[in-house]
C-alpha cells in the first residue's frame, strides 16, 4: 500500500467488471485462485483500506481508563481487599492472531498497574471462551504477554472459563422472555468485573461479551439456536439481530444481579496482511499489483501448490497480523459498545446498491474456530454462509432464492483434539439430515450433555459437544434464503454431505447457478478478507 494511501486510506469500492478487468483473487483455503468474472454483469466489492492506527495506543488506553463513558474512572473503582476479575476475549479474536504486543496485553497491563497502585491482591484473569476450546499456555502467553502470564498463571489466577464446572457457575436470574442467565462464579462474585474485548466485526462486544463469554450451555441455548438465527437480519447488525436482543435482555439481568462491570472495547483496522511483506499483495486491488507483488504472489502460489496441505496450514498458522488499534473505549457496557460499533463500521461498511443473483466468495484458511487448527467442512459452511453471508446491513447481498458460490478445498478432515464432536456431527448426523431445525430438535441436547464431550471440553482442548450445532445454525438464515450453494474446488463427497453442489471451476459453477437464477445472472464478488460489510440499499 502506497504511503499516501496509508495517510488517506481509500474507502471501500464497488467496481463493475469490464473486459479490461484483470483476473480477481479468490482465497481458497490455504491457497488462492485467480478467476475472471463475466464482464458487463459482474461487480466486485473491495474492502476499505486500513484506517490509521492510534499513534500512541498506550496513552489512548490510559485516557480511556481515566475518562470512561458513564462510569467512574477505573482507579476510583479499585480498593485494597477487593475481589477483582479481569475477563478477556479468547483465541477466536482477532483473526488471524495479531503480532505482539496483543491488544489484550496492552490493556490488561494498564488495568493491573492501576490495581497494583490501589493495592488489590485478589485478582483473577479468565479467558472468556464460553464453549470454545481452552487456550493453551502458549496462546495465553501470546495474548497477555510474558509479564502477566508469569505473574498469574503459576499461582492459578490465570485460567480458562469452564462452563461445565459444577461448582464454577451461578444462576443470576431469568429475563422477561424466561431466558436463564448464568455466569462464571468467580466473575459473578467479584467486586468488579473488567472485560477486555477486541472487536473484529460488528457482532462482537457489548453484552455478548459477558452474557456469552462467561456463560454455560443452559444460558447460551436461548440465543444460539435456529429460531434466533432465522430472526436476525443479520446477526452482524445489532439492532436487527435477535441474537443480540437476547444477549441484551440477559445483560439487564446481569446488571441487576451480577457484578459491576467495567467494559473495555477496542477496534482494529483492516491491516490483516501488512503494508509490506510477502502477504501484502492480498490486501491490494489487483490492477494495482506491482511487478514485485506479482512476482511474490506467483512464488507464493507455486510454493503452496507444491506443498502438502498440512505444511501449507503450518505456514499460514504462523502468520501474525500487524493489526493496529483504531479506537479504545471504556466504561458502562451500552455506551461503550455504541461507540465501538461506530468505529467498526467506519472501517468495514461499504455502500452497495441492489441485490445480486449470484454471490461469490473466496474463503480463506481461517475462521474464528480453527486458529492453530484444521478448517473442517462444517467450519467452511459456517464461514461462508454464517459469517460472510451475514456481513450485511439492510438486505442480504444476494436476492432471495439466489445462489452463493464459495471457493474452498473443503477437505474431509478434522482436528481430532479440537473438534471431536464435529466428526460425529458430520459423519453421522449430516448423513441423515442437513436441516438445522431438525438437527436441533433431535440431537442438540444429546450432544450438549454427552459426558465424553464434556470431559474433553474440560480437560483437553476440545470445543464443546454442542458447538458444531451452533456452527450449523450460524448458516441457517442463508440456507433458508438461498436457492443453491455451490462450492468450487471442494472435496466432492464432503460438499455433497452438507447438501451443497460441487463444481470444478468457477465457470462450471456459474453454469450451474444459471439453472436456479436463470441465464446471464448478475454476479457480485466480495473481496474478503480484509473484512468488509455491505450496506445494501
Amino acid at each position: 500500500m502506497a504511503v499516501e494511501h496509508r495517510k488517506a486510506p481509500r474507502p471501500g469500492l464497488v467496481m463493475d467488471v469490464d473486459r479490461s478487468t484483470p483476473p480477481i483473487l479468490f482465497h481458497h483455503g490455504e491457497g488462492f485462485r485467480l478467476e475472471r468474472l463475466p464482464p458487463g454483469r459482474s461487480r466486485i466489492i473491495y474492502p476499505a483500506e486500513p484506517l490509521a492506527g492510534l499513534s500512541d495506543p498506550e496513552a489512548a488506553i490510559r485516557d480511556a481508563l481515566l475518562n470512561p463513558l458513564d462510569s467512574d474512572p477505573l482507579p476510583a473503582l479499585l480498593r485494597p481487599g477487593m475481589k477483582l476479575t479481569i475477563a478477556f476475549d479468547d483465541i477466536s479474536l482477532p483473526l488471524p492472531p495479531m503480532r505482539r504486543p496483543d491488544i489484550r496485553q496492552r490493556i490488561i497491563e494498564q488495568v493491573l498497574d492501576m490495581a497494583a497502585a490501589a493495592g488489590v491482591d485478589d485478582v483473577h484473569l479468565i479467558a472468556a471462551l464460553a464453549l470454545h476450546r481452552r487456550m493453551t499456555d502458549d496462546e495465553l502467553r501470546h495474548a497477555l504477554g510474558e509479564r502477566v502470564f508469569d505473574a498469574f498463571a503459576p499461582q492459578g489466577a490465570l485460567y480458562n472459563h469452564d462452563a461445565e464446572d459444577p461448582d464454577g457457575m451461578v444462576e443470576l436470574g431469568r429475563t422477561g422472555h424466561d431466558e436463564l442467565v448464568t455466569m462464571n462464579r468467580r466473575a459473578a462474585e467479584s467486586d468488579l468485573l473488567v472485560y477486555v474485548n477486541i472487536n473484529l466485526v460488528a457482532m462482537d462486544g457489548g453484552w455478548k461479551s459477558t452474557a456469552t463469554g462467561l456463560a454455560d450451555y443452559r444460558s447460551l441455548r436461548h440465543h444460539h439456536n435456529v429460531g434466533t438465527m432465522l430472526n436476525s437480519r443479520s446477526f452482524m447488525d445489532r439492532p436487527r439481530s435477535e441474537l443480540h436482543h437476547s444477549n441484551w435482555r440477559q445483560g439487564e439481568v446481569i446488571k441487576a444481579n451480577g457484578p459491576p462491570i467495567f467494559q473495555i472495547e477496542t477496534t482494529v483496522n483492516n491491516n490483516t496482511f501488512g503494508y509490506d511483506g510477502p502477504l501484502s499483495v492480498l490486501q491490494k486491488r489487483e490492477w494495482e499489483w506491482s511487478a514485485r507483488d506479482r512476482a511474490s504472489f506467483m512464488a507464493m502460489h507455486a510454493g503452496l501448490k507444491a506443498m502438502p496441505p498440512a505444511a501449507c496450514r503450518g505456514v499460514f498458522n504462523r502468520w501474525l497480523a500487524p493489526y493496529e488499534m483504531t479506537s479504545v473505549q471504556a466504561g458502562a457496557v451500552e455506551p461503550v459498545h455504541e461507540s465501538t460499533t461506530a468505529n467498526v463500521l467506519a472501517q468495514h461498511l461499504v455502500p452497495v446498491q441492489d441485490q445480486t443473483d449470484v454471490l461469490t466468495m473466496g474463503l480463506p484458511y481461517i475462521c474464528p474456530y480453527n486458529v492453530n487448527s484444521v478448517m473442517n467442512p462444517i467450519l467452511v459452511m459456517c464461514l461462508g454462509l454464517g459469517y460472510f453471508f451475514n456481513l450485511y446491513r439492510g438486505r442480504p447481498l444476494v436476492r432471495e432464492g439466489g445462489v452463493v458460490i464459495m471457493s474452498h478445498p473443503t477437505r474431509w478432515e478434522f482436528h481430532p483434539v479440537h473438534h471431536p464432536s464435529y466428526i460425529d456431527f458430520f459423519e453421522q448426523l449430516l448423513a441423515e439430515t442437513t436441516d438445522p431445525a431438525e438437527l436441533e430438535a433431535k440431537y442438540e441436547a444429546q450432544f450438549a450433555t454427552d459426558e465424553w464431550y464434556v470431559h474433553l471440553y474440560r480437560t483437553s482442548y476440545a470445543y464443546h459437544g454442542v458447538h458444531p450445532f451452533y456452527m450449523w445454525y450460524w448458516g441457517a438464515h442463508a440456507l433458508q434464503w438461498l436457492g443453491r450453494v455451490i462450492v468450487v474446488g471442494g472435496d466432492t463427497r464432503a460438499v455433497r454431505r452438507m447438501g451443497f453442489q460441487p463444481a470444478s471451476t468457477l465457470s462450471d459453477a456459474l453454469e450451474m447457478a444459471g439453472d436456479v437464477v436463470g441465464p446471464s445472472p448478475t454476479i457480485t464478488h466480495v473481496h474478503n478478507p480484509p473484512i468488509l460489510m455491505a450496506d445494501v440499499e
Binding site: D56, Q105, L112, A116, D150, F152
Partner: protein, 317 residues
C-alpha cells in the same frame, strides 16, 4: 589500571625486551629532554583517554565488521556463557529514533549481552559509553573497544563537558547510546547510586531513556575475575522513560534508578508483585543496605554464586 592490566597483558609486556625501555635508559639527546622548572611544557595533543578519536569506528567498514562480530562470535559467546533470557522487548514496540539504554553494571560481559539483546533498529546503530580512563588508556585497548563494541570515551573521574558534548552530538545524529549510570562495575555485587549522565543527555537531546536490568552477569564474571564462569543471565527491558517538561536531571536520574530497581524486583519475583511494591515505594534498592561489609555480603544471599573450590579433607603436609 585498565582493561589490559586486568587481563594480565601489562605483566606479560614488562617481561618482554623493549626497544622503548632501551632508549629511555640512554641520556639526552637519545631520549627526550627534561622540562626545566618555570616553563610550560609544550602542548602535545592527547591520543588516549577522552581524546581518543572514535569517528572511524562509526564508518561503514567498521560498522560492518562490528555487526558481523556482534551477530557471530559475540552472540555465540554470550549464548555459551550467559544462556540469556530476554524480557520486555515488547515495551519498545512504539519507540522510534535514538534512545538511551541505561543499565545496571556488574560485569565485562554486560556490554556483549546487551549488544546482542537490544532489538533492532537500535542494535547496530548504537554507541557504548565506556570509561575513558579504563578502556581508552592505551591506543590498542581503545581501538579494540571502539571497533568491537562501538565504545566512546566517557569521563567518569571528573565532571567534563567534552565527553557529554560528544555523546550528545552522536545522539542528535541518530545514534543510540548504551550507558551504565553507575559509572563502573559493581565492586561487591550490589549496585551503585546512579549518576546523572544518562538523565542529562536525555534532557539535552529530548530522547527517551530505556531502563534495563541485568541479572546474573556478576556470577559469570564479576569485577576482579579474569576468567568467566558459565551461568545464566536475565535481561529485562523497562518501559521508556520520557523526560517531563521542566524536569531536572537529578530527578530524572532518580526515576531511572527507580525504574531499574523495579525491574530488578520484577526479575526476581513476578511482574504484578513488583508493580504493587513499586507503587507502594517498596521495591527495595539496587545499592543494598548501608551496613557493614559482611552484612552487605550476607544480604546478597543467593544473588552471588560462591566460587566453587575443591574441598580438601586434609591440609598439604
Amino acid at each position: 589500571m585498565g582493561i589490559a592490566h586486568d587481563l594480565g597483558l601489562v605483566q606479560i609486556r614488562r617481561r618482554l625486551p623493549s626497544p622503548a625501555r632501551a632508549l629511555k635508559a640512554r641520556s639526552f639527546p637519545l631520549r627526550a629532554p627534561t622540562i626545566p622548572g618555570g616553563v610550560d611544557p609544550p602542548h602535545v595533543p592527547g591520543r588516549t583517554g577522552v581524546d581518543f578519536d572514535t569517528d572511524w569506528a562509526r564508518r561503514w567498514p567498521a560498522r560492518m565488521f562490528r555487526a558481523a562480530m556482534v551477530e557471530g562470535p559475540m552472540r555465540a559467546m554470550v549464548q555459551v556463557l550467559a544462556s540469556p533470557r530476554r524480557h520486555g522487548t515488547d515495551r519498545l514496540s512504539e519507540l522510534e529514533g535514538p534512545v538511551i539504554f541505561a543499565a545496571n553494571h556488574h560485569s565485562h560481559i554486560d556490554t556483549s549481552l546487551l549488544l546482542t539483546s537490544i532489538p533492532e533498529p537500535w542494535r547496530h546503530k548504537i554507541v557504548v559509553g565506556a570509561a575513558a580512563d579504563y578502556f581508552f588508556g592505551s591506543r590498542v585497548a581503545g581501538t579494540v573497544a571502539a571497533l568491537a563494541m562501538g565504545a566512546i570515551p566517557i569521563e567518569r573521574a571528573r565532571v567534563g563537558r567534552r565527553s557529554a558534548d560528544y555523546a550528545a552530538g552522536l545522539i542528535d545524529g541518530g545514534w543510540s547510546l548504551l550507558i551504565y549510570p553507575e559509572g563502573g562495575r559493581s565492586p561487591d555485587g550490589w549496585g551503585q547510586t546512579f549518576r546523572g549522565g544518562a538523565a542529562y543527555l536525555a534532557l539535552r537531546c529530548g530522547v527517551p531513556v530505556v531502563p534495563v536490568h541485568l541479572q546474573g552477569t556478576g556470577a559469570i564474571m564479576r569485577k576482579g575475575r579474569t576468567t568467566p564462569k558459565p551461568g545464566s543471565a536475565t535481561v529485562t527491558f523497562g518501559s521508556p522513560i520520557r523526560p517531563a517538561a521542566g524536569e531536572k536531571a537529578p530527578r530524572l536520574a532518580a526515576r531511572i534508578e527507580a525504574a531499574v530497581t523495579a525491574l530488578a524486583d520484577e526479575a526476581s519475583t513476578d511482574w504484578y508483585s513488583a508493580r504493587k511494591r513499586a507503587h507502594a515505594g517498596a521495591s527495595g534498592t539496587l545499592t543494598g543496605p548501608q551496613v557493614g561489609v559482611w552484612r552487605r555480603q550476607w544480604a546478597l544471599g543467593g544473588r552471588r554464586r560462591t566460587p566453587s573450590t575443591r574441598s580438601r579433607r586434609w591440609p598439604d603436609l
